[in-house]
C-alpha cells in the first residue's frame, strides 16, 4: 500500500465473513475447516449477535417426537408458509440438511432439551405440521450462538475482529476484492484484502420504531451488497411477529416467543373471546382444531387432534390481532391478551423461564397468574440479497450471503423456527462454497487504492463536517416514516408519501455531522448506519408499492386479495446507472414431483409411498 494508507491496518485473508451471528459463525467455521484463512468481523462483541434473541427453537425433521415427520413434510410446510413464493431448491436443501446441522451442534457441546427417551426434544410451532423445533427452554438462540462461538475460537485459521464495522466492499474487474472496516472502540481502520466475502449481517429492524431487533439490525448487509452491484429480492416481505410486548412503552416491541403459543398459550380479545378460531384461512382449512376441546386433546398428545389456531403462521396471527383492534376489541394498549396462566406454574417456569423473568422484571406481570398483553412487532426480513440456492453466491463473483441477510428461503412469510435452521444450513453452505471459490481462483483480485481513500473520506466526513444533519434525528424520522407508510398494513397513498420522504431523507443523509472523535462514538456509528437504513427502507417501500396484491406478510388495503399474476414472480432490485431499478422476475419453476409434495395432505407425505422413512434421498 501507499504511504497515504499508513494509518490503516491491512489483513490478507481468503474469506471475510461480515457478521458473527449464527450464519456468520457457521460460515466462518466451515470456511476455516476447508483450510481457507478466514476472518470474521462483528459490530458487537462475540456472542452478542441478535441470534441470542431467538427463543423458540430450531426447526429440523429429526423425527424424535413425531415419527410421521420427514424432510418432505418440513419442505411442504416451508413452501406453503412462504405462500408458494420461496425458492423451492433452497427449501429442499434446508429441509434435508437441517437435522444434520442440529446434530452437529450437539457434538460441539450444545445441550438441547431431551424427550423421555433421551433424544433431542421437539416442540410444536406455528405452521409446522408436527412437533419439529429442537430447543433449549426459551433460550435456543443463546445455546446456538455459544456453541458456535466456542467452536469458532478453537478453530484454526479463524480470526475474529470484534466491534468492527464494514463500511465498503471493493471489487476488481467485477469480482470481490475486499472490504474497509473500522474498529468501533478505537476508530482504527482495517483494510481486508479478501478473495471472497460472505455477508451475514442480519436484517433491518431498526428502520422501524417497534421492533424485536437490536441496534445492529440496520440493513448493512443489504446496503453493502446493493452498492457492490448485487441484487436484492423480496424486500416487500417484512415479518411482523404477532406477539411483541406492548406495555410499558420502554419495552414495546420486545419479543414474546411463539413458544408461549406452542406450549398452549391462548389469544383472547378484550371481550374474552378466543378469536383465532375465526381466522383460519382457506389454505389451512381443516388442518386446525375446531374447538377448545380438540385443542386440549392435542396438548395431551392425541395424534388425531389438530393444532390450536394460535399456531397459524405469523402473518395470519399478526393480521388477526390487527383486525380485532380495528373492530374495537383490542387490549388497553392496542394488542391482544395472551394467556398461558392456565398451565401448571412449574411447567411454565421450566419451559418458558425467560418469558417469566422478562414480564416479571420489565412489566411487573406474573405470567403464571395473569395474561400478557401482546401485539405485532417488526421481527424479520424475508427479503435480502439474492443468492444462488446451492452456493449462496450473489451475481457478484466472490460475494456470498447467508441467513437473514439473504433472500429466497422464506418467500412471503417465514415459519417460526426456520430461521435458526436457515442460519446453520446456509451458513455452512456459504462457507463451503466461498472456500471452494477461493481455491479455484487463478489470480488474487487487488484493491484499488484510490477507492480505499475515497471510502475513508466518506467514512470520516461526518466527524469533519461542521454542519450537517444529526443522524439521531434522521433515524427517528426514518422510523416514523416507515411506521406511517410501510407498516404491516399498507396502502398506495401512504407508501408513495413514504417514498417521497425517504428520498428527502436520503438527500439529507449525504451530509451528516456529529461531535466527538473516533473513539467509541455512538453518534458517528449511527452516521454510518443511517444511510444503510434509508437505502434498505427505500428498497422495502418501492417493492411494497410495486406488488399490487396481498400475500403473506405483505398486506394491502387497496389490493386485499392474492393475485395469481403475482403468485409466481419475485421483485428484484439492482442498481442501474446510479438508480434503484425494480423488475419482476419469474420464480424458479417447480418440477411436477416437487409440486406434488406441496399439494399433498400431510398424512400422505408422511406415508410410506412418499418415502417417510427416507431421511436423505
Amino acid at each position: 500500500m501507499t504511504e497515504d494508507l499508513d494509518n490503516v491496518t491491512e489483513h490478507t485473508v481468503d474469506v471475510l465473513v461480515v457478521g458473527a451471528g449464527g450464519a456468520g459463525l457457521r460460515a466462518a467455521i466451515q470456511s476455516a475447516e476447508e483450510s481457507a484463512e478466514t476472518a470474521v468481523v462483528t459490530k458487537s462483541l462475540l456472542g452478542k449477535a441478535h441470534t441470542v434473541m431467538a427463543e423458540g427453537g430450531c426447526a429440523a425433521a429429526l423425527r424424535n417426537v413425531d415419527e410421521r415427520d420427514n424432510w418432505k413434510v418440513h419442505f411442504r410446510d416451508t413452501v406453503r408458509g412462504s405462500k408458494l413464493l420461496n425458492d423451492w431448491r433452497m427449501a429442499e436443501y434446508h429441509a434435508k440438511e437441517a437435522p444434520d446441522r442440529v446434530r452437529e451442534l450437539e457434538k460441539w457441546g450444545a445441550t438441547f432439551d431431551r424427550n423421555e427417551e433421551g433424544w433431542i426434544n421437539q416442540r410444536p410451532f406455528g405452521g409446522h405440521e408436527y412437533n419439529r423445533l429442537a430447543h433449549v427452554g426459551d433460550r435456543t438462540g443463546l445455546e446456538l450462538i455459544r456453541t458456535l462461538q466456542d467452536k469458532a475460537v478453537h478453530t484454526d485459521d479463524l480470526d475474529v475482529f470484534q466491534e468492527t464495522t464494514v463500511t465498503k466492499l471493493f471489487k476488481d474487474g467485477g469480482r470481490i476484492a475486499g472490504a474497509l472496516a473500522y474498529d468501533r472502540d478505537t476508530g482504527g481502520l482495517h483494510l481486508f484484502q479478501a478473495d471472497a466475502v460472505i455477508l451475514a449481517g442480519g436484517g433491518f429492524g431498526q428502520c422501524y420504531k417497534y421492533t424485536s431487533n437490536s441496534w445492529e439490525y440496520t440493513g448493512d448487509g443489504m446496503a453493502l451488497a446493493y452498492e457492490a452491484g448485487a441484487e436484492l429480492m423480496d424486500m416487500e416481505f417484512v415479518q411482523f411477529h404477532p406477539t411483541g410486548m406492548v406495555w410499558p412503552p420502554s419495552v414495546r416491541g420486545l419479543l414474546v416467543t411463539e413458544g408461549v403459543r406452542g406450549e398452549g398459550g391462548i389469544l383472547r380479545n378484550s371481550e374474552g373471546e378466543r378469536f383465532m378460531f375465526d381466522y383460519v384461512p382457506p389454505i389451512y382449512e381443516g388442518e386446525f382444531a375446531a374447538d377448545e376441546d380438540e385443542v386440549l386433546r392435542w396438548l395431551d398428545d392425541d395424534d388425531d387432534a389438530r393444532r390450536p389456531p394460535e399456531l397459524l403462521t405469523r402473518d395470519v396471527v399478526a393480521k388477526a390481532i390487527h383486525d380485532e383492534n380495528e373492530a374495537g376489541r383490542g387490549s388497553p394498549h392496542g394488542g391482544a391478551f395472551l394467556d398461558i396462566s392456565w398451565r401448571d406454574d412449574e411447567y411454565i417456569h421450566k419451559k418458558l423461564p425467560s418469558m417469566v423473568e422478562q414480564f416479571e422484571e420489565l412489566a411487573g406481570v406474573d405470567i403464571t397468574e395473569e395474561p400478557m398483553e401482546v401485539g405485532p412487532t417488526m421481527h424479520y426480513a424475508m427479503g435480502g440479497v439474492r443468492v444462488d440456492p446451492e452456493t449462496e453466491m450473489t451475481n457478484v463473483p466472490g460475494l456470498f450471503a447467508a441467513g437473514e441477510n439473504a433472500a429466497g428461503l422464506h418467500g412471503a412469510n417465514r415459519l417460526g423456527g426456520n430461521s435458526l435452521s436457515d442460519l446453520l444450513v446456509f451458513g455452512k453452505r456459504s462457507g463451503e462454497h466461498a472456500a471452494t471459490y477461493v481455491e479455484e481462483l487463478d489470480d488474487a483480485p487487488a484493491i484499488d487504492h484510490d477507492e480505499v481513500e475515497t471510502a475513508i473520506d466518506e467514512l470520516m466526513a461526518p466527524l469533519e463536517n461542521d454542519e450537517g444533519a444529526d443522524p439521531y434525528d434522521l433515524h427517528e424520522e426514518l422510523q416514523e416514516v416507515m411506521d406511517e407508510g410501510v407498516q404491516m398494513i399498507r396502502e398506495a397513498d401512504n407508501m408513495e408519501a413514504a417514498i417521497d420522504q425517504l428520498e428527502d431523507l436520503w438527500e439529507r443523509a449525504r451530509k451528516l455531522s456529529v461531535p466527538g472523535g473516533t473513539s467509541y462514538n455512538p453518534g458517528w456509528h449511527r452516521a454510518v448506519h443511517v444511510p444503510n437504513m434509508i437505502l434498505t427502507s427505500l428498497a422495502v417501500a418501492r417493492s411494497a408499492l410495486m406488488r399490487e396484491e396481498s400475500r403473506g406478510a405483505h398486506v394491502r388495503t387497496d389490493f386485499p386479495e392474492k393475485d395469481e399474476e403475482w403468485g409466481d414472480v419475485n421483485i428484484v432490485i439492482r442498481e442501474e446507472d446510479g438508480e434503484m431499478s425494480l423488475v419482476t422476475e419469474p420464480s424458479p419453476e417447480r418440477p411436477e414431483k416437487i409440486q406434488e409434495i406441496i399439494d399433498a395432505d400431510p398424512e400422505e407425505v408422511s406415508s410410506e409411498a412418499y418415502g417417510a422413512k427416507e431421511v436423505m434421498p
Partner: protein
C-alpha cells in the same frame, strides 16, 4: 397498530403501572472519561413508565451527549452487553428499572474491574482470552446402535439439567466485575474468574464429555483463589447459582483429586485414574 381500544372487561389486568413513577424526571450522574481520566457528569432526563437505565442513557445520547459511549444489544437481558454499575451495584442497564432504585440522583459508572475504553464501555477482551485457553467440550463417540442410527447422544434430561443451568450464562461479566479476586486483588494472571469456573463446570459435568479438566481448574483456572463469598451469584442476571452449583462442586472435585488421600486411593483401586 390500531389506536388503543377501550376495554370492556372489568377483570382484565392493567399490565403495568398507570402513573409514571419517579415524578417524570430523574437526575443521572454518568461517568464520562477514557482510560486515563474521567468524572461524573450530570444529566436530567424525562422519565416514562417502566423506564430502565439503558433507556435513560439513550435519551441522553439523543438529546444531550451524542458521543456518550454505551455498549448494548438486545435490551432484554439476553445478550449481556450493557453491564455497568448503577448506584454501585453491578447491573445490566436494560433490566434496571428506575422505579426500583433509591430516591436521589442515579450514579451510572462503568465496570470497575476492566479498563475503561470510553465512558461506560470497558475493554473486556481479557475474558475472551480466558475462554480460548479452556479445553472445550470433548464429546465421546456414539456408542449404542440406537445412538449411531439417530446420530445423537442419548442423554436423560435429569443428567443435563445441571449443565443447562450454566449454559444460561449471557457473558455479561458482572460476576467477573464484582469478584474481589479480580476487582481488588488484580489476580488476572492467577484466577480466571467465576464466569469461567462455570464454563469449566458446564463441560466437566456434561454427561457426554470425555475431557478431564480438574488439574486445569486448579492450575490455570486458579479455583483456590475463590473464597466462595458469593458476590458473583448475587449479581448474576441469569440467576445461575454460580457458587453452590458451579464453583463448590468443582472445588470438591479438585479436593478429591488433589487433597483427599482416601479418594485418591479409592480412584486407584477402581482404576479411574
Amino acid at each position: 397498530m390500531a389506536a388503543p381500544a377501550e376495554t370492556t372487561q372489568a377483570d382484565q389486568p392493567s399490565s403495568g403501572p398507570e402513573e409514571p413513577p419517579r415524578g417524570g424526571q430523574a437526575t443521572f450522574e454518568v461517568w464520562r472519561g477514557d482510560e486515563d481520566d474521567g468524572e461524573f457528569e450530570t444529566f436530567e432526563v424525562e422519565t416514562q413508565p417502566g423506564m430502565v437505565v439503558l433507556d435513560a442513557m439513550h435519551e441522553i445520547q439523543a438529546d444531550q451527549a451524542p458521543d456518550l459511549a454505551v455498549r448494548w444489544n438486545c435490551k432484554a437481558g439476553k445478550c449481556g452487553s450493557c453491564s455497568a454499575e448503577v448506584n454501585g451495584h453491578p447491573k445490566l442497564m436494560c433490566m434496571t428499572r428506575l422505579e426500583d432504585l433509591e430516591e436521589g440522583p442515579i450514579h451510572v459508572a462503568p465496570m470497575k474491574t476492566f479498563p475503561v475504553e470510553k465512558d461506560l464501555v470497558c475493554d473486556v477482551s481479557w475474558n475472551y482470552e480466558q475462554n480460548e485457553e479452556i479445553e472445550p467440550f470433548d464429546g465421546r463417540e456414539l456408542e449404542t446402535p440406537a445412538e449411531k442410527e439417530k446420530g445423537e447422544f442419548r442423554m436423560q434430561q435429569e443428567d443435563l439439567d445441571r449443565v443447562q443451568e450454566f449454559r444460561k450464562c449471557i457473558e455479561c461479566y458482572l460476576c467477573q466485575d464484582v469478584c474481589h479476586v479480580l476487582r481488588n486483588h488484580d489476580k488476572y494472571d492467577a484466577f480466571q474468574g467465576p464466569r469461567f469456573m462455570i464454563r469449566y463446570a458446564g463441560v466437566e459435568m456434561h454427561p457426554a464429555d470425555d475431557g478431564d479438566r480438574v488439574e486445569e481448574i486448579w492450575d490455570e483456572g486458579g479455583i483456590g483463589y475463590c473464597n466462595i463469598t458469593k458476590c458473583c451469584t448475587d449479581v448474576c442476571p441469569a440467576d445461575i447459582e454460580i457458587t453452590d452449583n458451579g464453583i463448590i462442586p468443582m472445588k470438591e472435585r479438585v479436593a478429591s483429586e488433589k487433597f483427599d488421600p482416601l479418594a485418591m486411593l479409592w480412584q486407584k483401586v477402581r482404576g479411574e485414574d
